[in-house]
Amino acid sequence: MSKYPLSDISRRQALKKLAVGAGAIASSGTLPGLIGHSQAQSTQPIRIGFQVHRTGIGAAYGRWYDRTTTAAVKRINEQGGINGRMVEIVAEDDGTDPKRGAEVLEKFASKHQCDVSFGTLFSHVVMGSSPRAGELKMPYFVVSEGHHVASGQLNRYTLQPGITDVKSQVEAMGPYVAKNLGKKVTMIYPDFAFGHDHRDYFSTAFENQGGEILAKIAIPPTETSFTKYFAKIPRDTEVIYHVMVGPAVLTFVKEMGEFFGPSKPAIFGFIDSLEAVDIASPGLEFLEGTYFWEGNPRYAQADQSSHDKLYRAAVGVDNNGASVTDSKDVSTYAHMFGCWETLYIIKAGMESCDYKGPADRSKLIEAVEAMSDMPLSDEHPQGAKIFNGKTHQAFGHQYISKVNGGKLELVHTTSIEDTFYEDEVDYTKQSF
């Protein structure tokens, strides 16, 4: 895939200046009818509908998705926008609610005249909104991690090019856990689609490595007290595999520490259990020496790439993964890069198909489907990715970190190939 060469940018900046000049002439009153019309078409902004979890259980994620999106759009506009047009984000709160999610998409299409929609995280909102996106024929770029895109449950208008899915993440973890932590695992996960993906794909991957799943403990996502569930952990457990979401994640991890006391097994968690939570919070000391999957290392690592540095600074995140203005405001660093990368993919797609307006939406989808290699760059600061146009899903490196001195230290990076699985769908065969 071609990146954004300098000459390209300066050409666009020149165009932008021309357009501004044309606008000035138009507004000064000379030839209002003639220039005014043609100028309206070429400088009208590209409108991206941003379905954001401002309220509801996804609000902590939504806030950071919002900040990342704002930062990415600011940078894109500074680089000259898309095809010489500025990008405008139209954000609407979906309340982390599937029904409202679908309504928000309708608003994007009818009221705001958006070109595309983007940004959803929680999988049930994606599931609720995607059919509507298909009916509206509105490209819907999700940043959700759910396996629902690649599983073939959705439609040609729904794509997930900027973040990897749970199935590939989990399957890539199996070998590491079996080799380094232990063979007898108890899994603790939230009792809905996302947690069930973990349960199904990890247990298969782990058993293929000769491991054994002793118990599978499902916890309702609205639960606020957890000790009673920990009592179900079998005594001969060697490794705890945990993943939790929602506002009670800190309680979850804290009570896990209190439950085990000094005699804890090895612990491997998905960072979701601690997204937006400070690892230095009181009661989390027991996490020292435990392992986490991270979508993107929260703490700036010793060998931090220049791309991560640029991205981190643009979004306003410090080296510990917290906001630069408030060290207690911890980011959702393992997920939010997906917004940044997805916006750059929309840009690249629109540029390669010379996107003019809503009539070119299917051309845009075909352009994204044609993408494959996405090398590590300022546009892809989390790492290189390979996009599968048939399944509409990106594949990329996964990170395993160990808590060391109260910080997450990267100990293992999987290859992209570790995360591959067989295609389950070919969306390109569906008609528009």
């Binding site: 007290s225 179900k232 911890v330």
Partner: protein, 308 residues
């Protein structure tokens, strides 16, 4: 885990739920008993208590014990003042009309919740417990050589969790003393029995109402301050306590403090046990079913007096 220790752990966890629930539900019951209004915003006052506790402890940056003690004093006070102001500004203007009060307090619920989201933010924020030491608990085993003490894996609690239970009992006892042994209690009971007659005897019923509404909210806030070092402050945390408080108050009998406490203990413990051995959803189903049966067969609740 074996059945015995498992049950013991479930009971312990259930007791904490019960303790906090008792405080919250008693607040709701008090407001209903005296003012005859249903406060749908009760859960939000609970949430505000937790949020203020976070705010006080983190603003001060003092030693956790000092911060927590101050939160324990001032968070309920602040919440009580807000509730009393709500009473003065809204409930009094609609003459405590039951239907309008429900609608008005729904409005208050959303205002408080959204203001918290706008200022405090969507994250769950922790408050450090003043003390928190894990205690491993022993269990008895009837083995070959008679009864022996064993220390089952994971059977434990923390000093703070035990303290929450003790604190709730002490606060409830104090409340009972205030209501039955002091002049303030007498005034409140007089207002409850017959507000017109109380007015005729020179009791400023308006002020009593504002105070009771404040007190009810402060009790919820107190419960929240106690539980916030175990859970976290979060802007949506008021929903569960509200639902459970309603369940408890209906089962115990609206306006009956003793009934409320007994029902809170019952619901708290059964919730703990059923959700451990079966499923949390079943626990909620059974509790709601119980409410239905109580409403059918004993509409005034198990301890409620029949309506006047």
């Amino acid at each position: 885990m074996d059945f015995g220790p498992h049950l013991f752990l479930a009971l312990l966890e259930g007791s904490i739920t019960a303790a906090v629930l008792a405080l919250t539900a008693v607040g709701l019951s008090l407001v209903f008993g005296i003012m005859r209004v249903v406060n749908v915003a009760h859960g939000e006052f609970f949430m505000l208590g937790a949020v203020f506790a976070w705010w006080i402890t983190s603003m001060l940056g003092a030693h956790p014990v000092l911060g927590f003690v101050l939160a324990l004093l001032f968070a309920p006070l602040l919440v009580g003042l807000i509730a009393a102001t709500t009473d003065y500004l809204i409930l009094r203007r609609i003459n405590y009309n039951p239907e309008r009060t429900i609608v008005a307090t729904i409005g208050v619920l959303y205002i408080i919740q959204q203001l918290t989201l706008m200022t405090f933010g969507p994250e769950a924020r922790p408050v450090t417990a003043p003390f928190n030491k894990r205690i491993a608990l022993p269990w008895f085993e009837n083995g070959a050589d008679g009864f022996t003490l064993i220390w089952p894996w994971g059977l434990g609690t923390t000093t703070y969790k035990l303290a929450v239970i003790v604190a709730a009992v002490v606060i409830l006892l104090m409340l009972w003393l205030v209501l039955t042994r002091t002049k303030w209690g007498l005034i409140m009971r007089a207002t409850q029995l017959n507000s017109d007659m109380a007015t005729a005897h020179g009791i400023p019923v308006d002020k009593v109402y504002a105070m009771v509404f404040g007190l009810g909210a402060a009790l919820a806030a107190l419960g929240a301050v106690l539980v916030v070092p175990i859970q976290q402050a979060h802007y949506l945390m008021g929903a569960d306590p509200l639902l459970l408080s309603f369940i408890v108050v209906i089962i115990g009998g609206l306006g009956s403090l003793l009934g409320t406490v007994v029902a809170a203990v019952f619901i708290g413990l059964s919730d703990g046990i059923i959700s451990v051995f079966f499923s949390p959803t079943l626990a909620k189903i059974l509790a709601t079913l119980l409410v239905a049966f109580v409403l059918i067969f004993k509409p005034n609740g198990l301890f409620g007096k029949s309506a006047e």
